[in-house]
Subunit: 283 residues, 4 copies
């Protein structure tokens, strides 16, 4: 069913998203994304049946995420209230959710969909590999690689590293994860017992948002090792200790939007589709 | 720490398990496994600090699983009661659990450990592949394969089929699983919408314990298709309809103990190790 | 272009081949394959434009390979002579080739086509894996596997073993092959320096038709190791020494026709297609 | 056996090479690589038993490849002549080879070693993947990829693309290569019949040094397709037509030295080792 869709604010990912909806035949208005002279004023642009706001919805809980200019959420909500509207945003913080609710807007957080997070893990893993390739004088082939953590990103990283003919060890805490690591043919290590095992690695990918690679462990690592940290800030590496020890440690954040905005937009599109399908309003 | 271990009843897997404990230096007694003249009488054999019973613990909730002879659980429990004993069994049904508790025996079910189930999924997947190889005139390479379900076994089957250069589609119900199927590079299908998609497959592996391949769907399948059903009984295939339609449909049950008793025993060994470690009684 | 095809002698693979030609719309006669009452007498059956003889063409250089009865090649050739006939056989020995030529029959050996040998390596590799799965108490996952030789079968075996999550080492003699083994991520070993490296392997696949695993090397192998030898007879293993040492060593010959006659027939079909296409007589 | 090694001229790869020899305990002199004040004058620097010249040996057949300054080969050869010296260079053109011979220097071309070219194909494949990741808005996962050519680089690219969960088609001319492509599970296409098949691809990797992607074929390709050409200059793409059609086509040359100088140096080290071993002068 053709619908009218408003895509408001955000980054290039939102532009790709608007384009995806257009290609499917929906009537799409953007605001805050394209050159201003090509966009309608906000009240008209925001009038779609389905309104898609960016991820994160807001950098501070008060304003909408925008590349230029600014818009208070409290000024946006009145334009989106009313029956028959479906309003979706990503990574909605509690303050923003509360202000929406107070204004009578039911705001759905598409970032909570597990399938979106799985889909986002793919460009994150690819971006981490690209960063590793760029940062090292070696080939991934034949490198001793350690992936710390066996969640979404860890699973995909391990799988792709093996596909690139690297030697892959994966560390985890839970016995269940260790059993999976074994079943899939990687070398299992325990994250809480990494001491004494770190010296052999040429590349370490951290996916765990906790201080795993502290100074003591970094001192054990070979100086030509490259560390790629994709855990959410503040990450899992003592970066200043790494600098002092001469170890290259790179924090790679927000990879999906950076390395593959089209894939990231498609993931949002799919998640929104599933949400609306489950609500009986397929798009 | 060296311990005395009693391994009572069961199948060849239990024999392998006894051997594993012996190789580690523990004092091990078996009962009901080796030629009777080589084993001690039950009361002595059952006197270990750690007592390992088979999986399933009992075929009927009343007797111990045994290859020959019979032993009532109510006759066994008094031999295992008492402080300082750790008694473990697999797939313990409620009746047996109740009778143990009534007799003052704390019975731990090692089969509930997720890592055991993951480890068991490996020989199950390998056994399913071996069955498929034996049942078809084709090579797996180049065959169009469908895996129904993306749980433990489905994940491992899909991964190994691709490793054998088959064309792999996987069906699931949950959007989260479909996102994983896509992220790992398989063709995603929805289990509830398989109609119209089934004709192309040369091999179908079912892992879902529900009647997925009913007569209507079987009628759509090509007659030279081979179906391997590894879901617990009664499985997910209308076997009599398959027979009438001339489709080869094989029910493969209890694969771990059959195809790789050593691996299956090692999985039990590891699970017991984790259980005892978490209880502060490492073995 | 529809043609008349004669498929004479051989094993179930030839029957599959006849069926493949039939499905493509060619007029096909078989002889020595189906129940005699369903086949035409040899002179009529052998009258096709394209005549396909089995592989090996002859068990002894004198008779055609046949499942029952016997036919002297010198009695067959006169039926196949004459302009406009294309006669193809597999693994043609020099004596048979000479007798055909003397009788005015141009006999083309389809077995010499490299693409046929590559295609045959696939069921050989799968058959070797199936044999290994059946012969061992372990899972392939996690097993230490050695593949001796990195020719067609060695390449495919190594690739599939890794796909099954085994630990894979490959031995070769040539530096070029060792570089490939490294580039693809396997552990490289030198076939002429296997001494001292053999003890760790649970599974050894030999693909080299030379006595690689002699008594000295076998003595180094662990007794629960399983050896699968797919090299042409007499193979690469001192089988009697293996027996004495209690090592399971299996000679697996002619796997393609045994494990996947349909795939083996398709490979012959394709090779014949390429031969005829290159001769300007496409079929 | 410890030797004295001269590493003269070239790029960072040669520096890595010098370092590798040093780590093995050899006495190493470089020239034209490190800051001049740290190097001996050429006559002393060039006095090693083993002299390693860069690849290509010479940019023009007359001078040595150097990052700064210049040196005529005819001035170099007299320093390297004499018994007991082993002189090696890479990609030696006929003019340079002739001048060396005339000066009494036996010049060995290590670039001709097949194992070096295989080893170099690894960083080339990884560099091509990194270039593709950087150039596209998509993820490699799920992208329709075509690899043109199934030589060393094509083989490794196809294998790694599948490892990254891309959909992989490979084109080749020879039936033997097509059989391998099939056996390894990729979609086979014929390079001489690509017309009509090109529209679906998101990524095309060319490895064939011939004009495969001419204007006619480029017109068939979707405008958002990215082409990575790793064939030696002038490559296999009509780059000006690609520009006109708005297709991103990148020529990626000399990837090993650029993306993984350490791996490239190790490959040269290994090749030199094999050459000297075969000559009975192991290093």
């Amino acid at each position: 069913m053709r619908r009218s869709v408003s895509v408001l604010g955000g980054d290039p990912r939102q532009l790709c998203l608007a384009e995806l909806f257009r290609e499917e035949g929906h009537r799409v208005h953007t605001w805050g994304l394209a050159p201003p002279e090509t966009e309608l004023p906000l009240p008209e642009a925001a009038s779609g049946d389905v309104v898609v706001l960016p991820q994160p919805l807001s950098p501070d809980g008060v304003h909408l995420s925008l590349r230029r200019g600014e818009l208070l959420l409290e000024d946006l909500w009145p334009l989106l209230a009313g029956p028959g509207r479906t309003v979706l945003g990503g990574r909605v913080d509690p303050a923003a959710a509360a202000s929406a609710q107070a204004a009578g807007v039911e705001l759905i957080d598409y970032f909570r969909r597990e399938e979106l997070q799985v889909a986002n893990a793919v460009p994150t893993a690819e971006g981490a590999l690209a960063a590793a390739m760029a940062a090292t004088d070696r080939t991934l082939q034949g490198s001793q690689c350690l992936v710390i953590g066996f969640g979404r990103i860890g699973k995909l990283l391990a799988c792709r590293l093996r596909g690139l003919a690297a030697q892959v060890a994966v560390s985890a805490r839970r016995q269940e994860h260790l059993a999976w690591i074994r079943a899939l043919g990687y070398t299992p290590l325990r994250t809480d017992r990494l001491e004494g095992c770190l010296r052999s690695f040429h590349l370490i990918f951290n996916t765990v948002p906790a201080l795993i690679l502290d100074r003591t462990r970094l001192e054990e690592i070979r100086p030509d090792c490259v560390i790629i940290d994709v855990a959410s800030a503040p990450g899992g590496v003592d970066f200043s200790a790494a600098r002092e020890l001469g170890i290259t440690a790179l924090q790679e954040l927000s990879l999906p939007g950076r390395v593959a905005p089209l894939a990231a937009a498609q993931a949002v599109r799919d998640a929104i589709g599933h949400i609306l399908e489950e609500r009986g309003e397929p798009i």
